[in-house]
Amino acid sequence: MSRVHPISAIVINESGVLARIAGMFARRGFNIDSLAVGETQDPKYSRMTILVRGDNRVLEQVVKQLNRMVDVIEVNDLAQSPHVERELALIKVQAPAAGRGEIIELVDIFRAKIVDVAAKQLVIEISGNSDKVDAMIDMLKPYGIAELARTGRIILARGSGASVAPAAAVDAVAA
């Protein structure tokens, strides 16, 4: 059954690594819903959060193909453990003075924020799980969305679960 799998990969934080991984996804025909990259607590590593669409066999291949890459330190299928996920969006919405009250009310309901105010437009910041972000966008559509930027999802395992940077390097020579 095809669905979206959240995968977290700890990779070496170095130029070219993103291209290498993105290229692998493209070349092997894996479908990505979103991909977010940023430094971890240790600047030697980046965390990639990848939402992959496919059945279990595709997921298995994605994990294996990531694991065989030299720049990839660790791969976790986050669906296997409880996790928190967030996405952030900035939405520039048409808001002439007359209709502004309704929009501000929506912003309150969604616990979003207005981060910029101009004569005819507002910029709204919202974060949460992707469903919430989708819902906010849907609610704002009737007013006219001028511009939209989304970060893609980032995810961490809850508690002391997976998705931490590895403690020690493994001796490759011993293998």
Partner: protein, 583 residues
């Protein structure tokens, strides 16, 4: 640099030397004795350092693709990475086919490419190409060295990655200014890479499950691939097969991993495999796959490849397990220790399973579907040439091919008895591979005879390497099976395109005369009775004159390779061919 470097430096201080000198030092430390390459602007500092050092042998090649295939031939007969050196831009892009070939067939290579100076990178400088970007999909790993201080570590990592785990090509892009910069960075004593830790031992639980499945089997078969050769596990494979009387099918890349004239050998599977190999895989109830990726040319239509088989899949690359065919028992590990564990396991069995009914069935299929072809009067049959070469060569001698009909006939009719004697482009299917690969192999193994059975289309694609073989007096024999066609495509046109022979007819030059013009020896062979004397002459003359010899052998133009499984069809519905029994 924020990656690195658990990598431990040598004790004591390292004197300063240029990046290029540090690279030569690294090559020597890795045991490299022979390099293939072509110089050029951006790689000149490396060549200057090579010249001043004076201890490494370098072969100037006609074209970088040819050089890459030579390095592959060298690697496959020695098991050590082949090394190729080129300049930036076109020198490096010409390598792409060779790298793609090497990654498909898991051949260890280290390619060192010159790059424009770091200050020019990204500016579309003269002979600049994004070689790291271009070669990412066709290398196991690649590097662009940014600073000379990284060079010793990157060279050590590159060789380590190329030769360990599932072998493959590594490319190191070396900017000119990095080559010229002084560095005191020491060569690391050992390599430690956080993200690279190839497996070795198989999981004991999975090995137990494999043994269980095997014990319950009634119709087992081993499918052994090129991984067995890379793992140097042919002795273990044979011991395992003989201990239980297990039939062995060897893939195209695996030929030589088990003697094809052994009573338990069923030959090659797949599109042009033997009928009995195909049927054994189709009907088996347990299939033990070792070091094979079960590609489409082996499986044919996936659903009907081995519908009743419990698959035990042993591979060092976890991603190959379950990629094409689901495995019941996945064993991620190096073929050698895993086979040793399996041998140890069966030795503890109280009794051995009785598979005599299965062997009776296999014998019946052998009888029903023998490999065979029809002789035609006054015409040289290509299969006959392969059989003659087979009769004249010793077990240790080396055979290579290009890609196409001649390759399949060689795979079918040559007797493979020893590992590391077979050079062919299996995964990428690179026409032009055979001749340069033969040169690389002969340079590595001067005391073994090397014959390239080539096609008239394939030979032309890297024919410039005749100059290389003559210059360095590399006595390889090339037997061109010349049918004046791109024969494999012609065969498909005959069988599946209603004989519309679109652009497959060739008018190759007289290859014997081309060889002579290059300074090699050549002879044209037109009649069946000339074949054996010509081959004897070629083998003798090559060694006597220390020159390559080309036989331009005119063979039957209409002959097709059988058996054949039409692409995408179920294997067991193979076309048997005129002599292969009826289906």
């Amino acid at each position: 640099m924020n990656t690195d470097l658990k990598t431990k430096p040598h004790k004591g201080t390292t004197p300063k030397r240029s990046g290029a000198e540090a690279a030569i030092e690294a090559l020597k430390a890795e045991g490299v004795e022979l390099l293939f390459g072509v110089t050029g602007g951006a790689i000149m500092p490396m060549y200057d350092a090579l010249f001043r050092d004076g201890t490494l042998r370098h072969i100037i090649v006609g074209h970088e693709q040819g050089g890459a295939h030579m390095a592959e031939g060298y690697a496959r007969v020695t098991g050590e990475p082949g090394v190729i050196l080129t300049t930036s831009g076109p020198g490096a892009t010409n390598l792409v086919t060779g790298l793609a070939d090497a990654i498909m067939d898991s051949t260890p290579l280290v390619a060192i490419t010159g790059q424009v100076a770091t200050s020019l990178i990204g500016n579309d400088a003269f002979q600049e190409a994004d070689v790291r970007g271009i070669t990412m999909p066709v290398t196991k790993h690649n590097y662009l060295i940014q600073r000379a201080d990284e060079l010793p570590r990157i060279f050590a990592e590159g060789f380590h990655i190329a030769r360990t785990g599932r072998p493959g090509p590594v490319l190191i892009d070396l900017p000119k200014d990095v080559s010229n910069t002084q560095t005191a960075a020491p060569r690391p004593e050992r390599v430690q890479l956080e993200g690279y830790d190839p497996p070795y031992q198989g999981h004991p639980h999975q090995i137990q499950r494999a043994l269980q499945a095997l014990q319950q089997a009634h119709k087992p078969v081993i499918l052994a691939g090129g991984g067995v050769l890379h793992a140097e596990a042919c002795g273990e494979l044979r011991e395992f097969a003989e201990a239980l009387n297990l039939p062995v099918v060897s893939t195209l890349m695996g030929l030589g991993n088990f003697p094809t004239d052994h009573a338990l050998s069923l030959g090659m599977p797949g599109m042009h495999g033997t009928g009995y190999a195909i049927l054994s895989l189709y009907h088996c109830d347990v299939m033990i796959c070792v070091g094979t990726r079960l590609d489409d040319r082996i499986t044919g239509k996936l659903d009907e490849f081995a519908p009743w088989a419990k698959l035990i899949h042993i591979d060092i690359d976890a991603s190959e397990i379950g990629k094409n065919v689901p495995a019941l028992v996945p064993v991620v590990g190096h073929a050698k220790p895993v086979l040793q564990e399996l041998i140890g396991g069966i030795k503890r069995w109280e009794s051995k399973p009785d598979w005599s009914a299965w062997h009776k069935q296999l014998a019946a299929w052998r009888k029903e579907h023998p490999l065979g072809y029809e002789q035609k009067a006054d015409t040289i049959m290509p299969q006959m040439v392969v059989q003659e070469v087979d009769a004249l060569l010793d077990d240790d001698d080396i055979i290579s091919t290009g890609v196409g009909q001649h390759q399949m006939w060689t795979a079918q009719y040559y007797t493979f008895r020893k590992p590391r004697t077979w050079l062919t482009s299996g995964g990428l299917g690179t026409m032009g591979y055979g001749f340069p690969a033969a040169i690389g192999a002969k340079l590595a193994k001067p005391h073994q005879r090397v014959v390239c059975i080539d096609g008239d289309g394939s030979f032309l694609m890297t024919i410039q390497e005749l100059a290389t073989a003559v210059r360095y007096r590399v006595p390889v024999v090339v037997a061109v099976l010349n049918n004046l066609y791109l024969g494999m495509v012609r065969q498909w046109q005959e069988l599946f395109y209603e004989r519309r022979y679109a652009e497959t007819g060739l008018t190759p030059p007289p290859y014997d005369k081309v060889a002579q013009a290059f300074g090699a020896l050549g002879r044209r062979v037109e009649r069946p009775e000339q074949v054996r004397p010509a081959l004897q002459w070629a083998l003798q003359q090559a060694e006597a004159s220390q020159l390559p010899v080309v036989l331009d052998i005119l063979v039957d133009a209409q002959e097709c390779v059988y058996p054949m499984v039409p692409a995408g069809q179920a294997n067991f519905k193979f076309i048997a061919g005129p002599k292969g029994g009826k289906r």
